[in-house]
Symmetry: C2
Subunit: 225 residues, 2 copies
């Protein structure tokens, strides 16, 4: 608890010392000791070269912690000691700090649309992961991977005219979506077989300097998801 | 279909003619002929004096329309003929067009946190509204109105230091939250009895020029919600 964990934090501190940015707040990301819903936030912070620390904990510590969180949920980003909650609110704030936003309101909005939709996909994905009834699990997996997700991917693929979802430069929503595409590919290796532009988008996210550095030696977590 | 409905649209067109804003895109909001998830978007557009048209339809038309929407859902905002989906992405874009954003990234983020949380509250609320099993309905209502929602309202109340959620001026998230607080008060008139700052926030939203004008003669819809 309260410790600095992971390579991202260490690099972050180095980056802060080398390039002092007086307006950059002190950030601490609080989450389970796993990837889960926090990993895309770590990617966004890494992609924007934004220094941050982490506070992680195991499932066993959650019942005692939960009542002390604003809404009974994590991740939480402490910003100069003040809690900021909700994954997408944190993601957008982290992306803003790292300059991963467009000057064009509509491009940001189309990115928001993609991120909101991916968050829905991820909720459905976790529902399938935690479903214990085998028959129900098979049917929700089928509905997600063979119906809903291909429809979503098709919308994004057919809209893309540049290297990324809504622009020729990466926005934080590209990092968010690219992260989840690569996680979902672990479950379905052929996920992007019919979506060459999205496969390119994901690869370009993985090739961003900050992400490459982060993934060269990613933090190791005790929890499986 | 395709017609201009509601006072907002008519005023919008007048406003556009009087104050030509060449960069303002042509907006058309597509939704059921009811308040539902579109009404806070109409409020945000009205509060920012952003001209827009509407296209509404009844439940009977939905099965034929649904497959032609990007993700199988509405609302959709047509922006110069291009669809923008996801309620919160539309809300943020509408708010940006109307200048209802802060220059401070953290204030925007705290607003986003509140809007995301209110969207979760609203999903739970609609679950209770559409629940047919009386016992389950009573238990989900109790869980929402006596446990989760008071906790959420308490977080917002205890954080507020100005007239609005995260600032002294209204952001689009204030309009979004204020709209839903006033809707939820219809179900629970004592909702804000213990939250004087939030009651003030909601009243200040209702008193914004654009909202007052909109509510003086609001569009009438055929659907109850």
């Amino acid at each position: 608890m309260g410790s600095v964990v992971g390579r991202a934090s260490k690099e972050g501190r180095v980056a802060k010392e080398q390039n002092p940015t007086p307006k950059m707040p002190a950030l601490k990301l609080i989450y389970f000791d796993g990837k889960g819903r926090a990993e895309p936030l770590r990617w966004i912070l890494a992609a924007g070269n934004v220094p941050f620390e982490q506070e992680t904990f195991g499932f066993d510590a959650w019942p005692a912690r939960k009542p002390n969180t604003p809404y009974g949920s994590v991740p939480i980003l402490m910003v100069d000691g003040q809690p900021l909650c909700q994954t997408l609110a944190i993601a957008r704030y982290a992306g803003t700090l790292g300059g991963l936003v467009s000057k064009d309101a509509l491009k940001n909005a189309l990115g928001d649309e993609a991120a909101d939709t991916m968050a829905e996909v991820v909720s459905k994905f976790f529902d399938t992961v935690f479903e214990k009834d085998a028959e129900k699990k098979a049917s929700t997996e089928k509905s997600l991977f063979e119906e809903y997700l291909p429809k979503v991917l098709n919308v994004w693929e057919s809209r893309m005219s540049g290297a990324f979802l809504a622009d020729d430069k990466a926005m934080w929503q590209d990092v968010f979506v690219g992260h989840w595409l690569s996680r979902l590919e672990e479950a379905r290796p052929d996920l992007l077989a019919k979506f060459p532009k999205l496969a390119g988008q994901k690869n370009k996210v993985l090739a961003l300097d900050g992400i490459k550095k982060y993934l060269a030696s990613p933090p190791q977590y005790s929890l499986p998801l």
